[in-house]
């Protein structure tokens, strides 16, 4: 039994596939590749991967469709690759079940960080969740609903706490406006983003050393927010 994590790369560009396969293998992953959506879905059944890296621009089927099909039977983390100019597509893929995204051209450090976050969330989903999340000077105790900064308790409003807790329990992972509004406010529409923006500003004022240069509560332009723990 091999314990190295299995990565499935679904991309139709042979050069990108070649580079990803070389680098990921070097980093100790087992890599399987598919050039088409159908092929990728079939491969995911035969060799269940621990992480899927999926290009949104496939020749045979929409990458968003591939996400939906995978989500019908597996919670495997999906990282989508897209070009910068297609925020709408990224958001649609994330809302269809993808866990994170990378914008082409991406850096390898960035890719490896995303894969690590995805694998961590996978083990957390299988086992017990961490009750306390730490990010630098910030400690969030999800069980007791207590947030401390440098050991001192930070006083948050209920909405601020819900927002922070949702972001922190998905640390490292991008969360779309829609998904945050749905979880924290209970709204299915992604229209009232202004609430989210104003609360993020307040949270940054309470938690960030320099709220205007945040290091934990990061904005993902056009997509959503990401809580970065810095590890």
């Amino acid at each position: 039994m091999n314990n190295e994590p299995q990565v499935l790369v679904i991309d139709d560009e042979p050069q990108i596939v070649r580079a990803l396969k070389t680098i990921l293998t070097q980093k100790g992953f087992r890599v399987s590749t598919a050039a088409r959506g159908e092929e990728g879905l079939a491969l995911a059944v035969v060799t269940p991967p621990d992480v899927v890296i999926l290009d949104l621009g496939l020749p045979d089927m929409d990458g968003i469709e591939v996400c939906r099909h995978l989500r019908e039977w597996t919670q495997v983390p999906i990282i989508v690759l897209s070009i910068r100019e297609s925020e709408k597509m990224k958001v649609a893929a994330l809302d269809a079940g993808a866990d994170d995204y990378l914008t082409k051209p991406f850096g390898i450090d960035e890719l490896l960080a995303r894969v690590r976050v995805a694998l961590r969330h996978l083990t957390q989903a299988q086992g017990s969740k961490e009750p306390i999340i730490g990010a630098g000077a910030i400690q969030i105790d999800l069980a007791r609903h207590i947030v401390t900064l440098n050991g001192e308790e930070v006083r948050l409003t209920p909405t601020e706490y819900d927002l922070l807790a949702y972001l922190a329990s998905n640390a490292g992972r991008v969360l779309t406006h829609r998904s945050i509004l749905e979880h924290v406010w209970g709204w299915a529409e992604a229209e009232n983003v202004e609430y989210l923006r104003v609360y993020m500003m307040q949270l940054r004022k309470k938690l960030e050393a320099d709220p205007r240069h945040p290091t934990y509560l990061m904005t993902e332009p056009g997509v959503g927010y990401r809580f970065v723990t810095g590890d």
């Binding site: 100019e85 409003t157 209920p158 202004e194 205007r212 240069h213």
Partner: protein
Amino acid sequence: MTSLNFRLPADLRAYRPAISTRLVSHPIFAAMLVGVVSGVLLLVRDLVTTPIIALLYLLPVLLSTTLWGLSGGITASILSFLSFDYFFIPPHYALIVHKPQDVIVLLVFLIVASVISQLVGQVKSSLASIQAREAEVIHLYDLSQSLSGLWDRSRIARMLAGKISEVFGRVQIEVRLYMPSGAIVIREPDGNPSDDMPLTILPLASTRGALGEVRVWSMREMSDAEIRLLRAMVAQGAWALERAALIESETRVTILEESDRLKSALLSSVSHELRTPLVTIRAAAESLHNGAVNRNSPAADDLLDALEEESDRLNRVVADLLNMSRLEAGALTLLRQWNVLAEIADTSIAGMRRAAQDHKLEVDVSEDLPLVPVDHVLMQQVFNNLISNSLKYAPTGTAVKVSAKLTKDGSAVLLEVSNEGPHVPAEHLEHIFDKFHRVTDAERIPGTGLGLSICRGIIEAHGGRIWAENQPGGFAFKFTLPLRWEGSAAPKLPIDSEII
């Protein structure tokens, strides 16, 4: 014969030669006139001599010709001649002539009467045709005036149909234009013509073949004169249509030439911008690969840095091109949301830190400004382009400042990206947002010449305005962003303040 200054009847019915009624009624009037004259002369027969009677009989001839034309004149001539002989040449009440001098009188009378009716009749009929021609010319002039300002083909067709209907009165008109996408059919008045009406079809002929056709359903068969006028009107319509087609193709040619010019400017700019980083990338990769540079030396790190930087630069060129082509194609859809301007500015600047390491980046965008209805990603692009433009021209070590404040009337936010770079000559200020407009020597400062025009495209799509200004000690880009979105201002947010 001075009646040429007549008013044109509205439907030209007077112009129509109503031959059938004229042929019957006019000789009757002429005969009646001759009868009246004969009656009067009978009363005074004993008081006047034969030559006087002959002269007096010329009156009904002259009068009939003048009033009712040639047919009336000839009828009057013959009847006068017969009446003269019957009533006044001895033996009375018989068409017999005994005296040779009476024969001469009768013959002269007949000749004079005929000549008079001929002459007067000719003048009359040529007057009528002159009037008809004049009416024709006036209608055609009116039509050409109405068509002269039109260049849209369906409007030309509508105008033509309207004018034909104005001239011919109760007719049903259909103008059919052959277009590549199918025929355009204009009907005047609306509705279907009935099948039993006589139909005249005339082609809208041009030098490039038939552009369409005109169908006219009239109440009765059209006269030659009417068809001639109709033909002339249709020809005018065809000319107008041909002219419209020519203008259209000329405009297309101008647009094509302009876009050709821009395309070659794009190609030369882009190939230069693409090739320059490629030169570095190729050289760096090769020298690392073949061992020309020791892989563990500091030089190798320099080359690896260059590889990354130049790939980023390539990526920016491609992004500029994509954005530009989207703006051009009108395919830029704004993902507008109520945004915190400070957050957008902060995110942009965080991404520019590395590029701005030789300058000081200063931000003065308050979090307390009202929310702005903008597309976050595109606004970030504007900030990025304006800042990187400033970084290219401002001397190293100087500050690049981003600031925002409300306009005086409070309806918009005024943003400013200023630097301590050199002034831009006044004649270039207006044009620096044009595509490929480069103020300085393109060889010295890299750039596609697209960045600022992308900014203008994005700002204008948001309903704002962008311009540039020389300032004491520097140069500034300024732009406005409206605070209202689809008529409404930013929502007031109920923020909870209770602490858990």
